[in-house]
Symmetry: C2
Subunit: 407 residues, 2 copies
């Protein structure tokens, strides 16, 4: 038994051979908690709540018919292989597709994962001892915090500007050491920000100065609303960056097909960690996903995706302008699915949320994206879920909630 | 930074912004290693090696056409839902199917996992602090050791007889404390053994005496070759047992659909651990799997599966009788996919394996299934992969290897 005491769960008596007893949980479970977003979504199960809260991709973009056809092709090509156990690092043709897409010489650096969330879990499993420091932006993607939490790190928040991580702030944080920097340079969740090329180089320079690894999470990378495209951090510094890519926002999250690209020297331990965790990502999902992305089929989806989400952003901002006005300030995001805003000073977004739910609209209070306390007046609004009329009504209800709150 | 020093991986210089540097790995990575079986399988990539090594289910039993049809049905019923993010604990209809199959009052106790391997990982994540003791049979399923290893437990091996775990030996082990007992009461891998009802009750009684939780792994449960059926440990002691069930051996492992049934009181932390690890098991795979198992369709497969694997066992034992004779002793397993045997005293199965590979046959040396050193003369033979002629030739080659080895 370890000296570190875990929590205790009283297990009720209901069986024949068991009696009332306690189960001692691992100490790391003290860090586990439900996702704040999922808890909010439970409140919105009422059919009449319009959601600006969830991060679900737009379902009307899912290629249902193409998935049906891809499944037939995958099963016809090699049905037995698609249903059998497979290699821990993923199907070779899918790894080769990722490698080609990222201009990698070596497909061995690619490990297919069950969503990028699993990539985050594997990063924690491989790199984090209890007490290690993880540098990340403030605010930061809460799913990353939830993935890292069981490995019991401490978090070192880095201030942001409108291009994301501030290099001077990062320098000060990394001077005190860190296991790695977690960064989302393309249309960050929740901030929506994108780092320019000079900013990317500056971030990598600071990380090189302190010899700190970067974990680059890039799920929104292809959802850009303009013609500006910057190289991923992993392309600028392949030996310093673990890159996480995903089909969840460009194809469909229910496939749970994503990938890690790891620096030379980390392939073997990553594959071993993956094998220990779930043997491999489903060969069936991988085989179908490969049929859906091969031969340029994924890239062919991008123009429509980009137009759709850009129009959605514009519908939300127009509705906010009509109904909420200056009571919410925000940057207009150049890509992604989220708008990050601030209500006026003195507004507590958590208290406002209760008024909002009563009036049939939901959002995520911004402090959910901070490892500790965050600014209470911040908010994340998703523009993926509603249509034009829905955004208009949601903004109207948000204004009514602000009225009731007295802001 | 923690005081516990991890390994260091030198990462070669290849990028523009990175220079030669070391990555400090978490201490737990010292426990990670590749699966011995997968390493052996790499040796057998030569097309002419007949494998008695791998644990792959018989591919000829995979319902390829039924998967194609089930996919069409799942997508037609609700294609968008099958491609969207889903609940962390799994699709409600699949959880309800599991609950009904196990006569559970409460589907909340079911969490769908990405294979039972993920169930083992989640058990480790929830229950194990470094240094905690895990009681398990000697030999034991090596995938469980690999799943638990990153959580840095110590292992307390329990002696077995022909019904599996010996209750007296278990009593002595649990008297010194354990976080849980890992048990495979139905056609254990590698031993092939099955515990009778009295043995199951005795094991649970010992666990109750010491107030120790049981993790029951049941992937082979339905592959029984006779009409004898004993209740799962979880049915006898629902408050003391985490039960792991899977479709990998009854339907197809490439779907990666399995489930945990947890005692009352552990639902919430299990769901949170699952969410942190990969958000949820793929909704696409779950929706297709549900269409494949609903309305008794899974149970309809069992008679054919059982006959097939029983005949396979008989083909292997007949071939061994013809060619190897008394140089290998074994129990005839009443179910599952594996035969556990012993060569004569003085035979080192690892050394014999080299002779065997040279002669075109592979097996898994038994010591791979022990957390420490195991008896060198033991061996696991799989009877899932070859046909009658293949078994005959494999046994002939094994005899030739024994000749060359001098046994």
């Amino acid at each position: 038994m370890t000296a570190a005491a875990g929590g205790a769960v009283a297990v009720a008596n209901g069986g024949t051979a068991a009696s009332q007893h306690d189960v001692r949980l691992a100490a790391r479970t003290e860090r586990m908690r439900p996702s704040a977003i999922r808890e909010i979504l439970k409140l919105t199960d009422r059919g009449d709540v319009l959601s600006l809260a969830g991060g679900l991709p737009a379902a009307e973009l899912f290629p249902v018919d193409a998935v049906a056809e891809a499944t037939q092709r995958a099963l016809a090509a090699n049905g037995v292989r698609a249903l059998q156990y497979g290699p821990s690092a993923g199907l070779p043709e899918l790894r080769a597709w990722v490698a080609e897409r990222h201009a990698l010489e070596d497909p061995d650096r690619v490990v297919v994962t069950s969503g990028s969330q699993q990539g985050l879990d594997l990063v924690g499993k491989i790199l984090l001892d209890p007490g290690d420091r993880v540098a990340l932006s403030a605010p930061a993607y809460m799913g990353a915090l939830r993935a890292f939490d069981p490995y019991q790190p401490t978090y070192a928040p880095v201030a942001m500007d409108d291009e994301g991580l501030d290099p001077d702030a990062l320098d000060a944080v990394l001077a005190e050491g860190a296991s790695f920097l977690y960064a989302v340079p393309d249309f960050d969740n929740p901030s929506g920000r994108r780092a320019g090329l000079a900013r990317r180089e500056a971030i990598l320079e600071v990380c090189a100065k302190h010899d700190v690894l970067v974990v680059e999470d890039a799920p929104y990378r292809e959802l850009r609303f303009d013609d500006v495209e910057h190289p991923p951090l992993a392309a600028l510094a392949p030996d310093r960056v673990v890159h996480l890519g995903s089909l969840s926002k460009t194809l469909a999250p229910g496939m749970r097909v994503a990938w890690m690209i790891v620096p030379d020297g980390l392939e073997e331990i990553t594959e071993q960690a993956k094998q220990a965790t779930d043997l491999h990502t489903g060969t069936f999902a991988q085989a179908v996903a490969y049929e859906l992305v091969r031969d340029g089929a994924l890239e062919a989806r991008f123009p429509h995706l980009r137009t759709h989400y850009r129009d959605q952003r514009d519908r939300l901002t127009a509705a906010l302008a009509r109904h909420v006005g200056g009571r919410l300030t925000y940057e207009v995001p150049p890509g992604g699915m989220f708008l990050w805003g601030r209500f006026g000073d003195g507004v507590d977004a958590n208290a406002l949320l209760r008024e909002a739910i009563d009036r049939g609209v939901a959002f995520v209070p911004g402090d959910a994206f901070y490892p500790g306390d965050g600014p209470p007046e911040t908010v994340r609004l998703s523009f993926s879920l509603l249509d034009e009329a829905g955004f208009d009504e949601a903004a109207r209800r948000l204004a009514a909630a602000l009225d009731a709150y007295g802001a």
